[in-house]
């Protein structure tokens, strides 16, 4: 049983009503994460994006969450205040169904890191209309054992090849190693 722990949750609060659709968040996010820092910008690489449809008055800033290997089946529509939103409009995943939150050239997934090391995320700093605000809240969470790096890697391999195949490979590799030693 996991034990309860106090933890600081860092997050960006999005007030979509205040969004002016300018995409400054995309500009500065992609500039911050460029290497070297700020040497270039490219909204297609941004870890935040504004889902905007001005004529329908749809403005939803979304920042990138987890990578997902497969898309949802049967996507829904939401109607809020008479405006129809695609379910994906609110989704933070880097997902095969769309180009968002992926490096445009390699397709590798992107995830928001709340600009680790800065006082506040750059998108928040550059959002002068206050659609984005930074929040640190203390939460009581059930701390799960966080999986180790190797476990994450193995799980990805298992998803792709199946656990049996991995075990077979490991067995073969260890046989080979023994052979070398001998």
């Amino acid at each position: 049983m996991a034990e309860k722990k106090k933890k600081i949750v860092k997050t960006i609060k999005v007030d979509a009503d205040k969004c002016n659709g300018c995409r400054a968040c995309e500009v500065i996010c992609s500039a911050f994460h460029a290497a070297p820092k700020y040497s270039s910008n490219n909204p297609a690489r941004s870890r935040i994006k504004v889902n905007r449809h001005p004529l329908k008055d749809i403005y939803v800033p979304v920042f990138a969450g987890e990578y997902t290997s497969s898309e949802c089946a049967g996507r829904d529509k939401y109607v809020i205040d008479g405006k129809e939103y695609d379910e994906c409009a609110f989704c933070r995943a880097s997902c095969p169904s769309r180009d968002d939150f992926k490096e445009p050239d390699s397709g590798l997934p992107l995830k928001c890191d709340v600009c680790e090391g800065e006082d506040e995320p750059m998108c928040v700093k550059w959002c002068l209309v206050d659609a984005l605000t930074y929040e640190e809240r203390e939460e009581e969470v059930e701390e799960e054992e966080s999986p180790e790096e190797m476990e994450i890697g193995l799980e990805a391999l298992a998803n792709e090849y199946g656990l049996d195949k991995i075990m077979e490979t490991v067995a073969r590799m260890s046989m080979a190693k023994k052979g070398e030693a001998a």
Partner: protein, 667 residues
């Protein structure tokens, strides 16, 4: 490695269907910066004066400013350059929005169109892939509607679309190019796009835009953002509400329209209604705005929210900003509900919000005067508002009298004759102006109206207060944190400027001071137009975040071009002079440098002559307004002087007017 700019233009020959990606010369960037500057160089080099607006040899250049696509706040303007069918001079209308940065991310600084497509097409640019696509199914569609249809058919909701409506297709001389929340509408550039058979240019880019010195550049951007916050919290005191803050005049936010409705003219720029505004109208108009306006919105990478989405009852949503809010209302002597409603149709048709209402009011005035008759308006409704909708449709379809009116008041009056000319009274260089008629000549504004080659007062004014402040204390308070001035002398000019007495208009500021003031104001607009910066954060408002002192740093750190104030001033002067050279080569002379004859009631011919003489000398132009060989040489524009010599332009005393025919007739 090129910084800020991509170093590539797209050259599209519409006649042959040929597309080329052409590398540009970095030396041109140093000399002419980008945007308007390099557009002007291309137009000089490739479009000789014999080429008419509707000739296949005319170019239509869409440029992203030099710093568009960098993180510089508010730098998002597309500068569109061509020869205007209406003025027959160089037109360089601009639009904000999202198009220019997207072009940079696709890997291009400019799209240069030449030739004519035999069929209606649109151009689809996605990074390295560029296609000319059939647009037969989009013929007659509204500009905004077109953008939606194209995004859907390409399955590219993030593509940015610059499109024309019916007015552009039918080569209306005041047709605009629309792009969602922005439009490039002055000078009839939409007509040139229609003439070339291009319904839209669609762009989507996913590449990087780099800057030369990242940390320094970002520091400059952060300073600008901090100053914007400061200015938002500290409006300028002592000026009217719409001039206190930054951005485009905040017409979508401001409800109090006493100043516009009582100081600007109604109808065909005729009637001043000094007691128009009252509580009842204020309440009614506020309700109209509050119910139709869904949201205040911005252009790319800008916090200023100058625009709004507007949904008139029973009509689709559209976006607008600034003074188009009132131009239709006032031309039709109607109310805000009508104005915001017809502006929706006008945006879809794609017409200029300054010219179109004036042309319609002009037509109705001619009807009232008996110069046009009921027979010219078959089936026209009785009520004024119905008549405006009727006329708008006739014009954009070029049907009946609409075909004549579609050329603007100047050319329409010429064609109609019977004394119609004196009703086309509010043009400069054949181009309709804001409806303003004032009393006492203002020497600064005289020079700006007369010589501004953007032919639009809002595109040259700014920086220096429009009027003196009543007390010395207030003036002193104003100049205290006025660090944007290029030189301390401007503070003194302002401190000594009085409402009455020796130091008041029209004789103060003196001619020499007026030259300094006008030149500074114009310079800032020209720099903005090369960099792609919105005038709303720079040349237009008082005390803006971008100015002559930080611009060189932005260019140095952004584009990696070694720049200082002097070099930047010289570059701006270079392409500003080149704009004049293009127009001089097209026959523009001193006689054309004049405000509308009735703009001021009290005129001072001798003073006006002195002002113009002094200003011409100041600019390095001769008494015909032609840049002198010496001044051209100093700017490295020897090639212009040579061309002028060859064409015998210096022998022209301005007495022989160039032959005047509407471009439409010459094709």
């Amino acid at each position: 490695m090129r910084y800020a700019e991509t170093g590539f233009n797209l050259e599209i020959d519409l006649s042959r269907g040929n597309i080329e990606r052409v590398e540009t010369d970095p030396r041109d960037t140093e000399l002419y910066l980008g945007g308007l500057g390099t557009n002007t160089k291309i137009l000089w080099d490739r479009v000789p004066p014999e080429v008419d607006a509707f000739s296949p040899d005319n170019l239509l250049i869409f440029a992203a400013g030099l710093l568009c696509g960098t993180p510089a706040t508010g730098c998002n303007r597309t500068i569109i350059t061509t020869i205007s069918p209406q003025t027959k001079l160089m037109a360089f209308s601009m639009m904000g929005g999202f198009w220019a940065p997207e072009l940079k991310y696709a890997g291009y600084d400019k799209v240069i169109l030449r030739g004519k497509s035999p069929d209606l097409v649109y151009i689809w640019i996605k990074d390295d892939k560029v296609e000319i696509r059939d647009a037969a199914h989009l013929q007659g569609k509204g500009a905004i509607e077109t953008a939606e249809l194209i995004q859907r058919e390409l399955k590219e909701p993030k593509a940015q679309v610059a499109a024309i409506g019916l007015a552009g297709e039918n080569r209306v001389y005041f047709a605009s190019i629309e792009q969602g929340r922005s439009s490039a509408s002055r000078g009839g550039i939409g007509a040139v796009m229609g003439d070339k058979g291009v319904k839209a240019i669609v762009v989507r880019g996913t590449k990087d835009v780099s800057v030369a010195r990242p940390a320094e550049f970002l520091e400059l951007c952060n300073e600008v953002l901090e100053y914007i916050k400061f200015r938002n919290e500290n409006p300028v005191e002592g000026v009217m509400a719409i001039l206190t803050g930054l951005g485009s005049p905040q017409e979508m936010k401001v409800h109090d329209e006493k100043w516009h409705t009582e100081n600007f003219m109604w109808g065909n720029s005729r009637l001043r209604r000094k007691d128009f505004w009252n509580e009842e109208i204020a309440k009614e108009w506020m309700e109209t705005m509050e119910t139709m306006r869904t949201r205040l919105i911005s252009c790319y990478n800008c916090p200023m929210t100058c625009g709004a989405t507007i949904t008139p009852p029973g009509k689709p949503t559209y976006m607008m900003k600034c003074f188009t809010k009132l131009t239709y209302t006032m031309a039709a002597m109607s109310d805000l509900e009508f104005g915001l409603g017809i502006a929706q149709s006008a945006t879809e048709y794609g017409v200029d919000g300054f010219s179109a209402p004036q042309v319609m009011a002009f037509a109705l005035e001619l009807l009232e005067e008996g110069i046009l008759t009921d027979k010219d308006f078959p089936g026209m409704p009785e009520d004024n508002e119905g008549r405006f909708y009727y006329l708008l449709e006739k014009i954009v379809k070029r049907e009946g009298i609409g075909d004549v009116l579609a050329n603007g008041t100047y050319w329409a009056a010429k064609e109609i004759g019977k004394g119609a000319e004196k009703f086309a009274h509010n043009t400069i260089k054949k181009h309709e102006q804001l409806p303003l008629k004032l009393s006492m000549l203002n020497p600064i504004y005289f020079l700006m109206y007369a010589t501004g080659e953007k032919i639009n007062i809002t595109q040259i004014e700014g920086q220096f207060p429009q009027a003196p402040f009543p007390t010395r204390e207030k003036r002193e308070a104003f100049v205290k944190d006025w660090f944007q001035v290029p030189d301390e002398k401007f503070k003194q000019y302002f401190l000594d400027w009085e409402l009455r007495g020796d130091n008041s208009i029209p004789f103060y500021p003196t001619s020499q001071m007026c030259c300094d003031i006008v030149d500074w104001q114009e310079r800032m607009h020209y720099i903005d137009d090369a960099l792609g910066m919105c005038a709303g954060l720079s040349s237009f408002p008082l005390k803006p975040p971008y100015h002559i002192h930080n611009y060189p740093k932005f260019i140095s750190a952004g584009a990696g071009i070694d720049m200082d104030e002097e070099k930047l001033t010289q570059a701006a002067k270079r392409y500003r002079t080149l704009v004049r050279a293009i127009n001089i080569r097209r026959g523009m002379r001193r006689k054309d440098d004049a405000p509308p004859a009735n703009h001021w009631k009290k005129r001072f011919p001798e003073l006006e002559k002195e002002l113009l003489d002094t200003y011409y000398r100041y600019k390095g132009w001769n008494d015909q307004g032609i840049p002198t060989p010496a001044s051209l040489k100093e700017l490295g524009l020897d090639y212009v002087a040579e061309d002028f010599e060859k064409r015998g332009i210096y022998n022209d005393n301005g007495d022989t007017p160039p032959e005047e025919t509407a471009a439409e007739k010459e094709v």
